[in-house]
């Protein structure tokens, strides 16, 4: 193997000899430099390989022929090898990326570039503290040189700021080093570690100076204004070098020097990390410049890594895993994003929608951003999981909160940015992409995928089965050029196969009713909802991989046995659905709301799982039941995550516009299927936690009220909507309110209601959305008042909607009534009369919008421009009729569904169940015989119809407008279509209930965060002196903090 010392020799030798080539062809000098970088990468890579595979021992490299501490020595161990490989491969890729710049700027810059990486290499390897200082200086000076690759005014002044700041920092470091030497008599790090310097007063101050200088090198918030300006002004090719190279190496310095400070330094470093993480992410919110956002993000991630480092002892053998998964993912993703920023060459994130022209890059941006955010399946997810679990276990709940809050802030700005990329705009200029700039980006994205796989394997948290969906998604993605028809068949058959395996082969033999019910909703529902896909023309790029991911996430929820698997699937599902929604035409803003609420919910859930783990030490879902001490908190936190998904009152504002703006078939999927994931989660949670007495009954009580109010507000809002999709969306909020209410009753009948509602809601909501989607597809409008009279043109859709609304309104004899009837029984048995009355009232309010829906679309006069419409496509109708069949079966014979569920629930709620006698179901309160009612109704209806028919055989169909209209004959359909603002009087009387309190409240929160962020960031004045000042204040304050005085 090539010794690590050759890294120095090669790099320096190349850099020095480049001087000979100053006037030669620059391709030669570049090739030379490139070869050298490649060789560096090779050396570090082979050592890494040796450490990974051959149990290589850590080795020491002596220089000058003497042993340390008398001479400078280097060390090559596993950690060094990892860091060096990261740094050097970054250098190699950066060289490719900067190819044209370096060639244009000449040999001097190549030397600088080369030496920067040489410096970092030595910094990582050296075991001598002064040597570390020297080579750190080399790297910072080289960076100052690279800053002026762009001779822009702002780059130059930020370079000056950097010089001042790093000069002050290195001065502090130097004082610290000398003092350390004075107190220990050595510069060898191992000696310093064993010298116990902290025992002497001066010694501890010396250690303080070294540590604070190293911390300052990490650019901690808020003493980092200089670094931010540099990030923003440099060539985008330099950004990764700062964040992935210098920051990484600085982290390693901290790691290496930490033992000198000893355990006493762990907490301060952790707190620094926390402040950095939270502060940077908070200030990132207000940023508009892509490079600056990335800068804030880099600093925050470094903060996170510092937190992890400070927990090294308590993380124990998990430390490496957590640290490296977070570090490497941030390193790769940040590099990728910086590079893409350079390709785009637009600083304002508003201009990033130029990427619309190259969808491939959007995919890459997505991968990088989600990697940064630590979403599954990307590596940081596993690391964050272990971190939160560990923090919780050691009781650091405040830290958990701060980390999650910071992550949320990060999500705000990254996802908003992502959204901006997807904003549609005409007249975009063309994006010229140089091929050599693309290579590193693609390489990095593959590295992320590979590393994701490795981390997952390393973590041991999930089995191989969890990759299958990703592989399928990737496969479909690879065959994305195929037409929709084929891909749709592929997707349907995949889901069908999966549902066969999951439901038929696994859960039916186990008779696990809960999972059969929700598995069927999720997967069979998926098949049904995929059918309309056949109507789409073209390729529909990117749609199918996401669909597969979303449904696999849902299936993963069903299959999950541990909280980790559950959370994993939950995030996959959320992410995929977000990406599906954002595909809609104007869906950028709504989907942002959606993902933001979802993330916040997911984070509270995360915290809840952490609490549970803290108490039980197990991540099994069943272990949730053993949580006693933290039961209330864990329960509430986890529940919030589910409440967001089911859009419970208070966190519902994301839903309507997301539904409205998503593609039509996507809306059907998410409204009929996806939203049930929250219900499923609540059921899982309640089954394991609420049934034990540890959870205060007040929580379900509160949930009940939330559900009731949600039902009322959702339905109230629905009746005023003029956008048909929004109308149904609000109705979903209402229905989810019922289900939440029913679940929180924690009784047999309540749960039976919830199950029934879930199934029935799936059926009719899917039916309604599909039917409406078919109509929208034909009429090209979502405004309900622009439709009308379509029963003449689209009778089949009308039948679907009619059955849908009858079921929705809960009218007998259709299946909706089953839910209503059980609901009443449950409420009265439970004694929640007032809430029950509210829910009941909202059920009647539902009637208003049901009528609005069917009337404004299908009844009334036909509009002139719709006179030639055709019935919706067969692909929209087929799934509708499948769903109608489902509704009819349950309507006529609810027993087949309700009875097994009842039996299942009896395991948990043995009392007050439903008793079946033939087709009659009865509780101790009432009884109901759906079959008989259906028979009676059908018989009566038939008789009456025959009577009517027999008495009016000569009925003749009249033309439109042939009505009694005060003696006049209206000519335009609009004048007689009473549709817009249909319930004006109702609004006049009860409009106050629908005032957007909640929306305003959230808006207020959101805007306050922004304006505070805007105010706070003002202390970054842009003046280099002020930044230097921040550094010194930071030092003094830190000293005061550590020593509590001078």
């Amino acid at each position: 193997m090539v010794g690590p010392i050759y890294i120095i020799a090669i790099a320096l030798g190349t850099a020095f000899s480049l001087g000979f080539f100053k006037n030669a062809n620059r391709n030669i000098s570049f090739s030379l430099m490139f070869l050298a970088m490649a060789f560096l990468t090779f050396i570090s890579g082979q050592w890494l390989y040796a450490f990974l595979t051959q149990q290589q021992e850590t080795i020491q490299i002596f220089t000058a022929g003497f042993k340390p501490p008398f001479s400078i020595s280097l060390q090559m161990g596993f950690h060094e090898a990892v860091f060096l490989t990261m740094i050097n491969s970054l250098g190699l890729l950066s060289a490719i990326y900067l190819f044209d710049h370096l060639r244009e700027k000449g040999v001097n810059m190549m030397m600088v570039f080369m030496l920067l990486f040489m410096g970092l290499n030595v910094v990582v390897m050296t075991r001598d503290i002064f040597n570390l200082f020297v080579f750190l200086e080399i790297s910072s000076i080289a960076l100052v040189g690279l800053i002026i690759l762009e001779k822009k005014q702002d780059a130059i002044s930020s370079g000056f700021k950097y010089l001042i700041a790093s000069g002050v920092i290195s001065g502090i470091l130097l004082i610290g080093i000398v003092a350390t030497y004075y107190y220990s008599g050595s510069l060898y790090i191992n000696d310093l570690i064993s010298a116990n310097l902290s025992l002497v007063k001066g010694g501890s101050v010396a250690v303080f100076l070294i540590m604070i200088a190293v911390i300052l090198e990490l650019k901690p918030f808020p003493a980092n204004g200089w670094a931010l300006d540099v990030y923003q002004s440099v060539n985008a090719g330099i950004g990764p070098i700062i964040s992935g190279g210098i920051a990484t190496a600085s982290l390693f310095i901290l790691y290496k020097l930490l033992p000198i400070g000893g355990d006493a330094w762990l907490l301060p470093i952790g707190i620094t990390g926390v402040i950095s993480f939270l502060g940077s992410n908070f200030l990132g919110i207000k940023q508009k410049s892509s490079n600056r956002i990335l800068a804030y993000s880099s600093i925050s991630q470094v903060g996170l890594l510092m937190i992890i480092m400070s927990l090294s002892t308590s993380l124990g053998d998990k430390f490496e895993f957590v640290f490296f998964s977070v570090l490497i993912s941030q390193y790769l993703a940040k590099a990728g994003l910086f590079w893409i920023a350079g390709i785009i060459n637009k600083d304002e994130i508003d201009d990033w929608n130029i990427l619309k022209k190259s969808p491939g890059l959007i995919v890459l941006v997505g991968i990088f951003m989600f990697t940064l955010l630590g979403l599954p399946p990307f590596p940081a997810f596993y690391g964050k999981w272990e971190l939160i679990m560990n923090l919780s276990q050691s009781g650091n709940f405040v830290w958990v909160g701060i980390i999650l809050l910071g992550s949320l802030f990060e999500a705000i700005y990254l996802l908003r940015w992502f959204g901006k990329i997807l904003i549609k705009q005409d007249n975009l200029e063309d994006l010229k992409i140089k091929f050599h700039k693309l290579i590193p980006v693609i390489f990095v994205s593959f590295a992320i995928l590979l590393f994701s796989y490795l981390t997952a394997k390393w973590s041991g948290l999930i089995g191989i089965k969890y990759y299958i969906p990703f592989i399928i998604a990737l496969l479909i993605f690879a065959f994305d050029f195929l037409p929709v028809f084929i891909k749709n068949i592929a997707a349907i058959s995949t889901v069908a196969w999966y549902s066969y395996v999951l439901i038929y082969q696994t859960y039916i033999p186990e008779n696990d009713i809960l999972r059969i019910v929700f598995g069927s909703i999720f997967l069979i529902g998926a098949i049904i909802m995929l059918i309309p896909g056949f109507t789409f023309k073209g390729k529909r790029q990117g749609f199918y991989p996401l669909v597969i991911l979303m449904f696999s996430g849902l299936a993963g929820l069903i299959e999950a046995r541990t909280t980790f698997q559950f959370f994993f699937a939950w995030e996959i599902m959320t992410l995929a659905s977000y990406l599906l929604i954002i595909r809609g035409k104007n869906a950028v803003k709504p989907s942002f709301n959606y993902i933001l609420f979802s993330m916040a919910g997911a984070f509270t859930m995360f915290a809840g799982f952490g609490l549970a783990f803290a108490e039980t030490g197990s991540i099994s879902l069943n272990a949730l039941a053993d949580v006693l001490v933290y039961a209330n908190w864990a329960y509430a936190l986890i529940a919030i995550g589910f409440l967001v998904k089911i859009a419970a009152f208070g966190v519902h504002i994301w839903l309507p516009s997301s539904y409205a703006e998503a593609d039509d078939d996507v809306t059907s999927m998410i409204s009929a299927i996806l939203i049930k994931s929250g219900v499923f989660g609540l059921i899982i949670l309640m089954l394991s936690m609420s049934l034990k007495n540890a959870v205060s009954p007040n929580i379900p009580y509160v949930l009940g009220w939330i559900g009731a109010i949600g039902a009322l507000i959702g339905n109230m809002m629905a009746i005023y909507q003029e956008d048909v999709k929004k109308l149904i969306a609000y109705s979903s909020i209402g229905i989810m309110g019922y289900i939440l209410f029913a679940l929180s009753m924690m009784s047999h009948m309540g749960w039976l209601t919830a199950f029934t509602y879930s199934i029935v809601h799936f059926l009719y909501k899917g039916l309604l959305f599909l039917a409406i989607a078919g109509v929208i597809y034909r009429t090209q409008t979502r405004n309900i008042y622009e439709m009308g009279g379509l029963i003449k043109r689209m009778p089949l859709s009308f039948i679907s909607v009619l059955i849908g609304i009858i079921t929705l309104a809960g009218m007998p004899p259709l299946a909706g009534f089953a839910g209503k009837w059980m609901f009443y029984n449950a409420v009265i048995m439970k004694g929640w009369y007032l809430q029950g009355a509210i829910v009941f009232f909202s059920g009647i309010v539902a009637f208003l919008y049901c009528f609005k829906l069917i009337h404004n679309i299908f009844l009334g006069p036909l509009k002139d421009n719709h006179r030639k419409l055709k019935e919706a496509s067969i692909w929209w109708l087929i799934p509708q009729f499948i769903l109608i069949i489902g509704i009819m079966v349950i309507s006529v014979y609810p027993k087949i569904v309700v009875e097994p569920i009842g039996q299942y629930l009896s395991m948990y709620f043995p009392n007050d169940g439903l008793v079946w006698d033939g087709t009659t179901a009865s509780t101790r309160l009432g009884y109901w015989d759906a079959t008989k009612i259906m028979t009676v109704f059908a018989g009566m209806f038939g008789v009456l119809f025959i009577i009517l028919y027999s008495m009016s055989r000569k009925t003749q169909l009249v033309e439109q407008f042939n009505i009694v209209f005060q003696g006049e004959r209206p000519e335009r359909p609009e004048t007689t279509h009473y549709a817009h603002n249909m319930y004006a009087p109702y609004n006049k009387a009860l409009g106050f209930l629908t005032a957007p309190f909640i929306t305003s409240a959230w808006k207020f929160v959101y805007e306050s965060i922004h304006s505070i962020s805007d105010q706070v960031r003002k202390f970054y004045t842009g003046n280099g002196q002020t930044y230097a000042m921040h550094i010194i204040i930071y030092v003094v304050v830190f000293y005061l903090f550590i020593n509590g005085g001078f």
């Binding site: 010794g3 010392i5 020799a9 320096l12 030798g13 850099a15 020095f16 000899s17 480049l18 001087g19 000979f20 100053k22 490299i61 002596f62 220089t63 000058a64 022929g65 003497f66 008398f70 001479s71 400078i72 700027k105 000449g106 001097n108 030397m111 600088v112 030496l115 040489m118 410096g119 030595v122 001598d128 002064f130 020297v134 080579f135 200086e137 080399i138 000076i141 080289a142 040189g145 002026i148 001779k151 004082i175 003092a179 030497y181 004075y182 220990s184 008599g185 050595s186 510069l187 007063k201 001066g202 101050v205 010396a206 303080f208 100076l209 000042m1029 204040i1033 030092v1035 003094v1036 001078f1046």
Partner: protein, 232 residues
């Protein structure tokens, strides 16, 4: 003013930290183990009379390499930054310098160059060494440029000296791995007789290289800063 008093307060705080750092400082009375080792074994191991030189060049040779690199970097960056614009160069107005300076420089410059060379060649015997010698040479050359602005001594030659000495330094280091026990090992040449010019292994050679390199780098920096550049 408020701001300045605040800065003053902060600096007082920093001063307090530094006072704490050296609380009870009374100066060492004994050498530390490492320093003592250098003092007692230095001659035996390295063969240089000047202990600072043996530390700088041998024991901590890697630092010196880094240090040279830093100057190299600065020179490269400044050279790139303040790049001479050749087209502009032709119309350049030269200021004539005084006769005295001119004459003095003709006398002084060779002496300074010689002195510089002496300093770095004898670095292992007496105070001084590569840095000092290099700095003196650079000062001499700078003086020459002040006196005779027309004298063309391009970056080209400086570059070549710089590169040659740098590469040789590295090669010497590698030779240490090949022929002795480690990078920059002094013992690839015999230590020779203590106290003579040709002793102390490769120290004199390294110091010559360092001297040349530092000299050329410093000159390069000064030259870049002095020369006219595109003043847009």
């Amino acid at each position: 003013m408020v701001k300045n008093s605040f800065i003053f307060l902060v600096l007082i705080g920093l001063a307090a930290i530094l006072l704490n750092l050296f609380a009870g400082f009374n100066g060492s009375t004994e050498l530390g183990t490492i320093a003592a080792h250098y003092a007692s074994k230095g001659i035996e191991e390295v063969g240089s009379a000047n202990l600072v030189t043996s530390v700088v060049v041998s024991y901590r040779g890697l630092d010196t390499l880094g240090e040279v690199t830093i100057l190299f970097l600065s020179a490269a960056i400044i050279g790139f930054f303040l790049k001479v614009d050749n087209t502009d160069n032709k119309n350049r107005q030269l200021k004539y310098t005084s006769e005295i300076l001119n004459t003095a420089s003709q006398v002084l410059v060779p002496i300074m160059l010689l002195f510089g060379a002496y300093v770095f060649i004898n670095g292992h015997l007496s105070p001084g060494g590569g840095f000092q010698g290099g700095a003196i040479i650079a000062s001499g050359l700078v003086l020459m440029f002040i006196a005779q602005p027309k004298k063309e001594m391009g970056h080209k030659m400086i570059n070549i000296v710089e590169s040659v000495s740098g590469v040789s330094f590295v090669l010497l280091g590698v030779a240490g791995i090949l022929f002795a026990s480690g990078f920059l090992d002094n013992k690839i040449l015999s230590l020779g007789k203590f106290g003579t010019l040709f002793s102390a292994g490769i120290i004199p050679i390294i110091y010559i290289l360092v001297g040349l390199k530092v000299g050329s780098e410093l000159t390069g920096i000064a030259l870049s800063l002095k020369e006219n550049q595109n003043e847009a």
